[in-house]
Symmetry: C3
Subunit: 359 residues, 3 copies
């Protein structure tokens, strides 16, 4: 799929060859393998750096592709797309990636077990994130009912404060996962002798080189994608929210997707959950706050107020993964349940009229 | 109580003898024993057909009385009553039937245990159903805030798509319960040597005859009931939602009620849960979609948008049964908690003004 | 800290010495030790009266300080403050007190275990309470959308009915905790030979004397506090809701706070949970209904309709404590999660404009 990278460059350099829609689709497809290479290079580096620092590296660069797309979109003032892609990454990892993983593993194994305490810790942190992301909307609805009481500035201060709390909480979660309770997470990966199958023994310099090249290309593709999104949307008849929640989220998380499903089919459901739920966590507690901080840096403050359907989608997804993973075992029906809800939410976002997306 | 059947017929044939309100009450009462006979005949048939097909029969005809009332009410355009009776059946089975069962069993037994995985699977499917039934309301609230963005047609397409997802999910649930994980459900019923007490050895032809007669009479009574509901409501001062959520739901589920309580008092809490929660599931994932499909067939499309109190009631009930049954044991206090919430919701629907019921 | 009592009296008697804001702050601070003495005297008395009656005494007088503040504020017509302090006490005990306790215990002990059934019973009762307190708001939102359908009188009848249900449920909970399932709660306190550290062997008469004196002084301080709250609010720039939810709630629960943290650090997490969650329960199921009944007695009916942020805060807090305590074990990260959410809610209430607080 790396072939899409040069195709996208050609399409951009010679606009007469194609159109914006084609550029949008091709740069979307080009990001998929690049995000995979970034992820692998990050993990190889992490391997060399040892558990603690390596874990930290994974925890910060694991969703670098989403972060880059977000930064590019923010620079163009597309806050609606940025927020929708945050929502979409959270629910996509929980519902789509975990749904496929649990079904994939569940058709081979009657029940799949994993560490319950680790699963509950992640699920509770996700609950906290869902609460945090819902609060600005609660504020807006309440404050907007009273003329004079509400102002854009207060809403931004509230979002900034929440972003800080989320960021600090993420530091605590990392302390829990990498230091004080690391054995909850370590056990399973040592089971099979190796953590993940793709850890193939790259040298540090090779990892760094690939990471640098892949990151630069992802940045380039993201710029193409973001530049073409408005034109492509109107041609394809998709709303801003649908593009963010479904399209960009699926692309940005394609790498996690394939790894999580592979782990599940090898009956390593704990690792599968760790990748997918961990990615959702990272988006909510690290990528979202960093994007808020960045938006202040470039002087175009983004607040964290989401639309009602987005808030509902996140709460619903987080609650469901808690119910399903909280008992430390999964079966195929639970995967179907996650996928059904993803489908229902996808239908909702598809039918939602364009005007309804603004906060 | 079968005596109410001829009384209802007389009241209908000779309107000068009584009034609409009497007809409404009598046909309500007549449905109770008829639904019981339908249920028993279905189970007897299922017994003859063996686990797989028999389970399927129970899963489709188990709530035939509610289905018939719904079809009759839809034909008269009473979509408000139909939707309210869906809500009411879901919360009635979970809160009222399970509440009485758990208290009934709990006063005799200190703790009652049952298969946790089966209970959690049902509870999660109910959560999915609650989400699905809340989405059209989320859509409506969001879309209605933007003039021009929203249309009745989109709302109906959304509801139809959700109905299809629910229906397919129900097929998966049946596959889980009857095929891949049937032993989770089978164990307890084999404990006492017999599944349910009323399985009394009817022949296939006797079962079929009783099923046919009872079904015809339920259809007749439902028609009386639906025809008289408008007049009776205004005389009794009850709102459409209260009649649907409380009155019709209690009547339609009376048979489940007595069986579930009896099982609980024999310390077969797993069966009791299976009957009551299973009935809620069937209403949400089978009866509701089928009524939506039927409404399209007769050219009067019904959407699945419920009022805010109905959505809240379903979410609340589903969440509570998950909390209570998720640990695989119950005690009397948990029954009291379910009943308290049922009472609070009943009070809410009682005081809700008439105008507030429309979607 | 008892020195604040005479200071408050002096400030009140000689208004020229200070101002309303100082009086507000000093009487707040004076209540903290007095509430502690009331609590200790109640427990000493309970010790003498034996498990059953003693438990009942604790269950009714345990939050006497909050009750007195509430009665004083109701008499001055400050229903907004009263309701906010109910919300604040519930979330303060769950999020702040339990958060600090779990972190405090968690830094010393890797995992802390406690009786899961008892924890779940409390969490489910809290869920019920959260539902009950959300219903009047659901009613208001639904009914208010239809002109003519809604009236203040219906809203008060609804609240009164809910208060009665909560009160009766509380009686059932006491029956469960003190009679039918008392061993679930008793085990841990017998572990160390003594129930709580402060049980120091006061005589009945000493306990009664201290209880009477402390109660009278709390009543006096509450009157000062309530009298000065309006003036102090505008000077300090705090909204009514913030004062109720954060300031008064923290003061009224300071005694529970120190005891719960001490128990947690002695690895008696079950007792710690019992104190903090039990206090929330008592506020919701006993203090709130009693205040509603009292408001009728004095002819100024208070309804139980809370603002949207209050309803969200209670639901969120209750849900989180269920997730965290439902598995019968805690670790420090769970305490951080509770505190993060408390912080986020505190930020929300701080930024909420004044106009937005009315129901």
């Amino acid at each position: 799929m790396l072939v899409f990278v040069p195709v996208a460059i050609v399409l951009r350099v010679r606009p007469q060859l194609g159109n914006e829609t084609a550029l949008f689709i091709v740069s979307c497809l080009a990001i998929v393998p690049l995000a995979g290479w970034m992820g692998r290079a990050t993990e190889e580096l992490a391997e060399h750096l040892g558990h603690g620092i390596g874990g930290l590296l994974n925890a910060t660069l694991g969703n670098a592709a989403e972060l880059i797309i977000g930064v590019m979109a923010l620079s163009k003032g597309l806050t609606g797309v940025v927020k929708a892609s945050i929502t979409g990454s959270i629910i996509g990892n929980i519902l789509l990636v975990m749904g496929v993983s649990i079904v994939g593993g569940g058709v081979k194994f009657r029940e799949q077990r994993f560490n319950q305490t680790a699963a509950r810790a992640s699920a509770t942190t996700l609950t906290l994130a869902a609460i945090a992301l819902a609060i600005p909307t609660v504020f807006h609805v309440t404050a907007a009912a009273y003329s004079g009481g509400w102002s854009q500035a207060t809403e931004q201060k509230l979002s900034l404060a929440i972003a800080v709390v989320l960021f600090v909480t993420y530091a605590c979660v990392l302390g829990f996962e990498l230091i004080t309770h690391k054995q909850l997470y370590a056990n399973e990966s040592q089971d099979g002798g190796e953590a993940r199958p793709e850890a193939g023994g790259w040298s540090v310099s090779k990892s760094l080189l690939i990471l640098t090249v892949a990151t630069s290309l992802v940045a380039m593709m993201s710029e193409f994608l973001v530049g073409a999104v408005e034109a492509a949307r109107s041609v394809l008849g998709l709303t801003e929210v649908f593009v963010g929640v479904i399209v960009i989220a699926v692309i940005g998380n394609a790498a996690e997707h394939s790894t999580a499903v592979m782990m599940a089919m090898k009956n390593k459901m704990g690792l599968s959950l760790g990748i997918a739920v961990g990615s959702s966590l990272q988006i909510a507690l690290f990528v979202a706050p960093v994007l808020v901080f960045y938006s202040y840096l470039i002087g175009q403050p983004m607040h964290l107020e989401f639309t009602l359907p987005e808030v509902v989608a996140v709460i619903v997804a987080v609650h469901l993964i808690y119910q399903i993973s909280g008992d430390g075992e999964t079966n195929w029906l639970e995967g179907v349940q996650l996928l059904s809800v993803y489908l229902i939410l996808g239908i909702l976002f598809f039918y939602l009229p364009e005007g309804a997306q603004a906060g």
